[in-house]
Every structure is written in structure tokens, then in C-alpha cells.
Amino acid sequence: MIPLSHYLIVSATMFVIGSVGVLSRRNAIIVFLSIELMLNSVNLTLMSFSSFLGDVTGQMLAFFVMTVAAAEAAVGLAIIIALFRRKQTVNLDEINIMKW
């Protein structure tokens, strides 16, 4: 059986990749995808803990995370589209009317 620590290392690595992506990419959609990667690494952590502890709470929470991520995606993409209609760009460096 694969030990718990392996799952945790994988999910921690995914989480770091996601957060580095958020910080280094300038395209709003890629940034958003990186955030989704972070959320999914959390799901992996939750599932591995849940199976390790033999407790279903983690799996339940993972379902909630998926649902909420979907809702967030709907709202987020809508915001990005509204912005794109006005400015014809999703580059974060060009979205700067207000000083950052």
C-alpha cells in the first residue's frame, strides 16, 4: 500500500505549483486555472486523510469543495468575460485603472 506521506507530498507539490502559477502568470484565465489546481490539491489531501483516518468527513468536504469550485468558476468566468468585452484583453498587467 502506498503510504500516506506520498499522497501528502504530491498534494503539497501541486499546491505549490498552483500558487507559483497564480503569482507568476499574467493571463487571468491561467491564473484562475492555477487556483483550481490549488483547490484540487486540497481535495487530494482531504481524500488521503479521509481514507487514512477511516472517516467520511473528508470525502464529504471534498464534494463541497468541488461544488463550490464550480460555482466560483461560473462567477469568475463571467467576470472575466464582462471585462474582456470592455477591454479586449485578459492580461492582468493591462487591467490597471486603479493603482494596484
Partner: protein, 514 residues
């Protein structure tokens, strides 16, 4: 366990908001384009829900299998949310009409956001905290971008969304780690486990100190923390080959999880190293929505923060307390100092809200009963005065989002003496001048900090509130002693006047009879 009728009765304020939200959606779909009806129904829903919360102040109970905690604490916060929600609705009417955006969706979103806030304040489980925060945040992202034909509003929504979702990632990872180490997401269970977990960790101080507060303060960015401090140690912990669940490792994971949860919540309250979003979002969002975000959303985040600090972690351990104290001090200093240089009144209020988050956090860092009570009082006082200030800003704002500069308020006292007097009252209260509500709020949280042997924190607080008097009183000086052309755009809506009057009354009332 299982579902009981009393669960619904205990959560009557929450369910009233849910029902009102759904009714308004149905009304809107059945008879589209009648925002006046939605306005009245949502206002009635908020008032009914607030009254039910007043009625529920006495009963202490848990419901839904220990997921929600009902009683004076949650109902107190529910009252604050219903108050700010109904005032926001009152302020928004004439503002939205003036901008040609008077639509029902605004009220639906405010109702759903308030629902999430009530959930956060009554949570007794990390899952509920997460769901409440998301329900609130997703509604607020849309509210920030409500003027979808305005570049500023769009930009503010995008920034809020990206940074908010980023912070949610940290919060969730923290929840996952806490769950993994404590074996449960329930506050009471974690509370029982916490002392053992905190003691058995192998490197307690170095993780929290090296990982979180110092580097945060120096770098000023949440990101570097995460890269430098957190995941590495997770990886190392995994490398050492210990099966998780063994005491030492579980303790480390628990502390990491708590640290990440605190980072996520500190983002939601806009505390210092995680405040970057606040000025831009507050600036670009429609003013009533900004007022709602700055007051109700902050109150809700503090509701969750206090539950986590007191009910989950319990007698907050030294490291967590110190971490919170450092965040509090950083927020107070940074918010107040940068606010001085702001010429736009919405940005000024945004930085002031960062500073106020610092004051409230010092009550939580104190980790005693006085601190908890002080934070609750402060939240109510802060909500009244800030919402009042935003109401007046919304009256004076013009179509092109101009006239937001503080200099534009020159001569206001000559043309509109009542409005100028009300704004002066809110500014005096924000600056903490007795006998107004803001003074007693600060007094209680600083008292709590002194009692917890954190005198240095109280001193930082008092010094920074002296700094804050400068920029608050500058607004008053400009209004009263400078000649100018300040003018109210169009007719002042009756509902806005009512809202300002209620805020002003409460600021005085809370101050005189604390």
C-alpha cells in the same frame, strides 16, 4: 443526531434570509423589472430576520448534529448583519437609480451574502465556515462588479475574485491539514485535541515564527511566506518517513493548518500583509456594495475568526497569540500611515478599514473574555460608523466616479449643513473621540490587550489612532473651513436619509450607553 424541528426554530434568522432570497428570485422571474417590489420584500426580510435574532438571543443550543451553534453569539452577529444589510438596501436605492442600474439582482445578492455571513457566525464546524465564506464571497464578487458597463467596477470584481479565490485555497488547505491532524472538523472535538497536539510538536516555535509572522512583515506579501515557510516543512515531514498521525508530526501539521486558516481569514478581514486587494476593490465597487463589504463582510470574517480562536483553538496558545498580535500591529501601522496620503475618500476609508481590522485583531490576540466582548462591541460600532460614512459618500458621488476626492468636499457645510454634520460625527467616531461608539470600541480591545500582558500592542494601537485622527479630521476641516463647490448630485433619496439617521443615532447611542 438527525434532523429535528428545533433545528429550524433555532436558526430562524438564517432561514428567514434563505426564504426571502428565494422569494425575491421567484418574484423577479415571474414579474421581471419591478425592482421596487424586490426592494421592499428584501427590506422586510432583513427586518424580520433581525427581530427573530433578537428573540433568539437567550437560547443557547447546537443544531444540525453539532454543525451550527446558536445563541447570544451567533444571534448578536445575525443582528449586525441584518442591520447592515437593511441599511445597505436603503442606501442603494437612490444610488442605483441615479446610475440607471436599479435592478433586483442587487438585493438578491445582498440577501445571499448575508446568509453566508450568518452561517459563518453560527458555525461550529470548519465545513460550515468554508461554506459560509464562499457563499458570502461569491455574492460579493458579483456585487463588486455590479456595474458591468463600468471599467472600474469590472476591474475591482476581477481583482477581488482572483485574490479572494487564492485566499480560499489557503484557507481550504489549512482546513484539510487541521482535519488530517485532529481527525475531525468539529470545533468541540478539535478543541479537546488542541492542547495535546500543540504540546507534542517537534519544532513548534521555529515553524510558526520562521514561517509566518516575520517574513510576512518584512516581505509584505503572503506568497513568499507560503513558498518559504510552509510547503517545505510539509515535504520534509513527509520525507522523514514517519506515518502521519504520530504525535509529533500531527502537531506540526496541525500548526501549519492553523497558520494557513489564519492566513485565509486575515485575507477576508483585510489585515495587514494580506490587505493588497482592499483599496482597489473598495474604490471600484459601487459605493453601497463597498459599504456592505467594508462592514458586514468584515464583521462576518471576525465572527468566524473569533469562533475559531476561542471555540476551536481554545485558550489560544502563545505562538498563535503572538502571530495574531504581529498581524494586528502591522495592520494598525500600515493602514493608518498609508491612509494619510490618500486623496480619494473611498481609498482613505479602505485603508482606515485595514487599520480597524488591526484594532479588532488585537482583541482576538488578547485571547481573554474581555477581548471577545470587545471585538463584538467593536464590530457593531464599526459597522454603524463606516456604513454611515459610505452612505454620505454615495450621495455625493457623480456619474463619472469623480467627486470622490476629499478636496471636493470643501464647502459642504455651507450648502448641506446636516449632511456635513453627520459626516463629521462619523469621522469623529472613527477617530475614536469620546463619547462616541468608536472610542469605547478601541477602549475595550486595548483594555483586553493590556490584561493579556500585551501592553506593547495597546501602545501601538493608541499611537496609531493618534495618527488616524489626522486624516479623519482633515475631512472635517475641508468641509467646514474651506470654500468650495461641493454639491449633492440630484435629489437625495428619502431611504438614504433614513439610513444615515439610523447610523448616526446608533453611533451616539452605542457611545453614550455602552
Amino acid at each position: 443526531m438527525g434532523f429535528q424541528i428545533s433545528d429550524i426554530a433555532n436558526n430562524a434568522p438564517l432561514f428567514t434570509l434563505v426564504a426571502t432570497g428565494l422569494v425575491v428570485i421567484l418574484l423577479e422571474s415571474a414579474k421581471s423589472g419591478k425592482p421596487n417590489v424586490s426592494f421592499i420584500v428584501s427590506l422586510a426580510g432583513f427586518i424580520l430576520s433581525g427581530l427573530l435574532a433578537v428573540g433568539g438571543l437567550k437560547t443557547e443550543d447546537v443544531s444540525f448534529g453539532g454543525m451550527l451553534m446558536n445563541g447570544s453569539y451567533s444571534n448578536f452577529f445575525a443582528i449586525v448583519f441584518c442591520l447592515t444589510g437593511s441599511l445597505t438596501i436603503l442606501i442603494s436605492k437612490s444610488y442605483l437609480e441615479r446610475f440607471g442600474q436599479f435592478r433586483s439582482e442587487f438585493y438578491i445578492l445582498v440577501l445571499f451574502a448575508a446568509m453566508g455571513m450568518v452561517l459563518m457566525a453560527s458555525a461550529n464546524d470548519l465545513i460550515i465556515i468554508f461554506l459560509g465564506i464562499e457563499l458570502m464571497s461569491v455574492s460579493l464578487y458579483v456585487l463588486a462588479g455590479f456595474f458591468r458597463t463600468q471599467d472600474r467596477s469590472n476591474e475591482s470584481a476581477l481583482k477581488y475574485f482572483l485574490l479572494g479565490a487564492f485566499a480560499t485555497g489557503f484557507l481550504l488547505y489549512g482546513i484539510a491539514l487541521v482535519y488530517g491532524s485532529a481527525g475531525s472538523t468539529n470545533f468541540s472535538v478539535i478543541h479537546n485535541q488542541a492542547p495535546a497536539l500543540m504540546k507534542n510538536q517537534p519544532l513548534p516555535d521555529s515553524v510558526v515564527q520562521a514561517g509566518l509572522p516575520d517574513s510576512v512583515v518584512q516581505a509584505g506579501l503572503p506568497d513568499s511566506v507560503v513558498q518559504a515557510g510552509l510547503p517545505d516543512s510539509v515535504v520534509q515531514a513527509g520525507d522523514s518517513g514517519l506515518p502521519a498521525g504520530q504525535a509529533g508530526l500531527a502537531g506540526t501539521i496541525f500548526l501549519l493548518g492553523l497558520g494557513l486558516v489564519i492566513v485565509g481569514l486575515a485575507f477576508k478581514v483585510a489585515a495587514a500583509p494580506f490587505h493588497m486587494w482592499a483599496p482597489d476593490v473598495y474604490d471600484g465597487a459601487p459605493t453601497p456594495a463597498t459599504g456592505f463589504m467594508a462592514t458586514a463582510a468584515k464583521a462576518a470574517a471576525f465572527g468566524a475568526f473569533v469562533s475559531i480562536a476561542f471555540k476551536m483553538i481554545g485558550s489560544t496558545s502563545g505562538t498563535i497569540s503572538n502571530l495574531l498580535a504581529v498581524i494586528a500591529a502591522a495592520s494598525m501601522i500600515l493602514g493608518n500611515v498609508i491612509a494619510i496620503s490618500q486623496s480619494n475618500i473611498k481609498r482613505m476609508l479602505a485603508y482606515s478599514s485595514i487599520a480597524h481590522a488591526g484594532y479588532m485583531l488585537s482583541g482576538i490576540a488578547a485571547a481573554n473574555v474581555e477581548g471577545q466582548a470587545g471585538v463584538m462591541y467593536y464590530v457593531a460600532a464599526y459597522a454603524c460608523m463606516t456604513l454611515g460614512a459610505f452612505a454620505i459618500v454615495s450621495i455625493l458621488e457623480r456619474d463619472d466616479a469623480a467627486n470622490l476626492s476629499i478636496d471636493g468636499y470643501a464647502g459642504l457645510s455651507a450648502k448641506h449643513p446636516v449632511i456635513a454634520a453627520a459626516l463629521a460625527l462619523f469621522m469623529f467616531s472613527l477617530a475614536g473621540i469620546p463619547p462616541l461608539a468608536g472610542f469605547f470600541g478601541k477602549y475595550y480591545v486595548f483594555l483586553a490587550a493590556v490584561k493579556a500582558d500585551m501592553t506593547w500592542l495597546a501602545i501601538v494601537g493608541v499611537l496609531t489612532s493618534l495618527i488616524s485622527a489626522y486624516y479623519y479630521l482633515r475631512v472635517v476641516v475641508v468641509m467646514y473651513f474651506k470654500e468650495g463647490e461641493a454639491a449633492v448630485e440630484g435629489r437625495i433619496g428619502m431611504s438614504t436619509v433614513v439610513a444615515i439617521a439610523v447610523c448616526a443615532y446608533l453611533v451616539v447611542q452605542l457611545g453614550v450607553y455602552p
